[in-house]
Amino acid sequence: MKLELRNITKRFGALVANDHISLTVNPGEIHCLLGENGAGKSTLMNVLYGLYTADEGEVLLDGEVQRFRGPGDAMAAGIGMVHQHFMLIPVFTVAENVMLGNEQTRGGGRLDLDAARARVSEIAARFGFHVDPDTVIEDLPVGVQQRVEIIKALSRDAKVLIFDEPTAVLTPQETDELMAIMRQLRESGAAIVFITHKLREVREVADRITVIRRGKVVGEASPTSTDAELAAMMVGRAVELTVRKDAPKISPSVFEVTDLEVRDARGTVLVDEVSFTVRGGEILVIAGVQGNGQTELTEALVGLQHDVSGSIRLNGQELRGLSVRDILEAGVGFVPEDRSTDGLVGEFTVAENLMLDRLSGPPFVKNGVLQLETLDTFATGAVDDFDIRTQGISEKVGRLSGGNQQKVVLARELSKDLKLLVAAQPTRGVDVGSIEFIHKRIVATRDAGVPVVVIATELDEAAALGDRILVMYRGRVVGIVPADTPRDVLGLMMAGIPADGTVAA
């Protein structure tokens, strides 16, 4: 089935998320939609999937204009979508999830689970992998859950498949396997739309590449283009993909974590005997696939986890057991993983957000009274200094783009009297231009002699930014290796297999 989008325009108020985007996807073709976060890829796909109504333009399937009033219409027309965040019900089995929304019943309204089971097995067999239809979703690894999503789409006879950032949650190995499945789907004649912002994957599977920037198609690229060419198209200028940094100059300050263990409310161990040392002037990157305990580890470092044992020492001072406020006051700068939830108050102004975690005393608070003039001066300086693109310091932070929001967080944390910087995925959902800036700032902090801990999920970032890389898998340290460790070794480590000769802890 041939998919055609013609002049799709979607506006949200004054913002034009999609500006006359046209796109053709032929059967038996993988068409990559490449663009930064916020470029309008997901909006476009939500229009295609019937979640949004386009303000202008039309969707055509095999030359016929379609009018989707919801995902149901889109599915009926043969469009299937594999979402970035899986739309599966964790406590249902594979078969139940696959039949959900398309239930076949026998007499008396009883569900025909046997038919669903057979369908799952048949589709899985077609692609040469095995999924037990009776396993409960939450017991499956992420990669397999994604396959269930694919099976679900195929069980509705989808001829057009949309993959929305499918690799964000996968290990490198799982990514490779997904690529293989996508190629098989292509061979079987499906039209595939693959949305991503990762250049390497694009070059690996794409037949055609369309690059989107700020809601507009900026052009088509061939799969033989280099990373640098593609990146330049995405951001509109050449960007430095590597971080320029000198050899570390070790300073006397030291951050030491020993036998750290974090448990959740049910007593499940989330971080398991993690030990590491970071010296001043050095960046330690904690790498791993999302959900392997990195989030909980960083939260424990700043006092946000309740059930923590072991020791966290900054220049000899024990931080474990202190309140978040006390830890921040001890000179810890923290860039949380999810800035919109944990790092910023969206309805507050840029200036207000810049003092959010600095309320315990001067310069912004004196005798319980806010020092708004001091804040204005500081905020104006920070906006300049950190190149925060905003209409002014009294603009609401929620209206800024992801990159600029992150710069607000960074400006706040780095302008403290820092003794330690903990940055969790500092460039997540940030445009390439801001990534470069954020990396430079983090390196500058390191060069000022501060110990830096960075959580990264992408190998490129880990290798570029880190002096050493600690790989976590299921809450444990797989190993700590130098930053120039080959990718495939790191990839294996992220799947839990220690590299030979790795120095443990």
């Binding site: 964000a168 490779d176 499940t268 959900g291 700043v302």
Partner: protein, 441 residues
Amino acid sequence: MSGVDENQLGGMSAATPQHVGEEPPVAAAPPAPPSDRDDDRWRVALRRATSGGWAVSLGAVILAVLAGSVMIAVTDEGVQEASSYFFSRPSDTLSALGSAVGSAYAALFRGAVWDFRADDFATAIRPLLNSLNFATPLIGAGLGVALAFRAGLFNIGGRGQMLVAAAAAGWVGFGMDLPFPIHLLLAMIAGIAAGAVWSGLAGLLKATTGAHEVITTIMLNYVGFYLVSYMLATPGLLQAPGSANPKSPAMDDSAIMPDLLGPRYNLHWGFVFALLAVAFVWWLLNRSRLGFTYRAVGENPAAARVAGIDVRRTTVSVMLVAGGLIGLAGTTQVLGTVTTGFSSDIDAGIGFDAITVALLGRSNPIGVLFAAILFGAFKAGGSVMQASENVPIEIVLVVQSLIVLFIAAPPLVRAVFRLPQPEARTARKVRTRRERKEVAA
């Protein structure tokens, strides 16, 4: 690389089904306890109801007044009579309609703002001052509810907090023997403190056990009501000596708030205290560290926590201050408005009207001031409307309720008045975070 296939990964996860590794990526974020998610829903509802903008508030009032007109017309006898021969002489019905609605609202105006039938200025201005008098407790109580709103908390306990405040202030007011300003101030402090404690109790329960403040404040209303009723019916506690009625003795002269403009008008110093409270809350929210933490917790408790703000302590603290403000309302009632002794209906529904006032005032202290004055005017004018035009005073209550209804449904009001629908904004709230980013960028 391809050596690690899904069997290996799958096998590992099956071996340790309890471990983090196979948690779905969505759940990898710190799992929020169900009550938190529930709170989120409240918060979203709250923000929607309080963030509609001034135009929506105004629109809601206009719509409610229009709906009130329809009810006045329908219930008016003249209109009913004339409509029976509508098709022979429709003009009769229409003029009856016009005169019914017109005279009703004229009476409302005469009772609430300016008595145009009066001979001199002093008499003509009386209704306005009367409205301000009715507004006085609504300002304090409205501020209390609004402040809690700003911190993301629903304080439905205005009634109980007003009652215990009135009881405490009253007890000091008639039971102690002190000179004038000291006696009054002491009674006020007692009342404000009692309100603060009653509300702080709900805050404490929330902070320590997670009990939802909506439930606890409502229940504390009953506890407060029956506690005060008991004390009013028990000689030696609050009951007037030698009386069999559940009513307190009159306040000492030294504990009564003096009239503001002399004995001709019943407006007393309580109004000034209410205005001071407006200024205080404005300062608190916009200029103080404490208020900043309230707002941060109200807008995004997760970010507040990460920023080192103690959310639990903030909860207790904001409920204390909110209760104190509502306590001020109870205090002005017994020490200013009803000084001849109070009974257990001294709250006069103000604790609940305060919620409406806070919503209409957009949880903003200045907005609360104007909303309270509007409601005070409704109260003052409603009785005149009933007395002179025979329009049931309940119409006023219906209009008030409709205001809340329209405020809770801002899209409706926007549609009626063709105000711009902030599509991107409301849509963003409903959609997932990922899509929200997409839109924002």
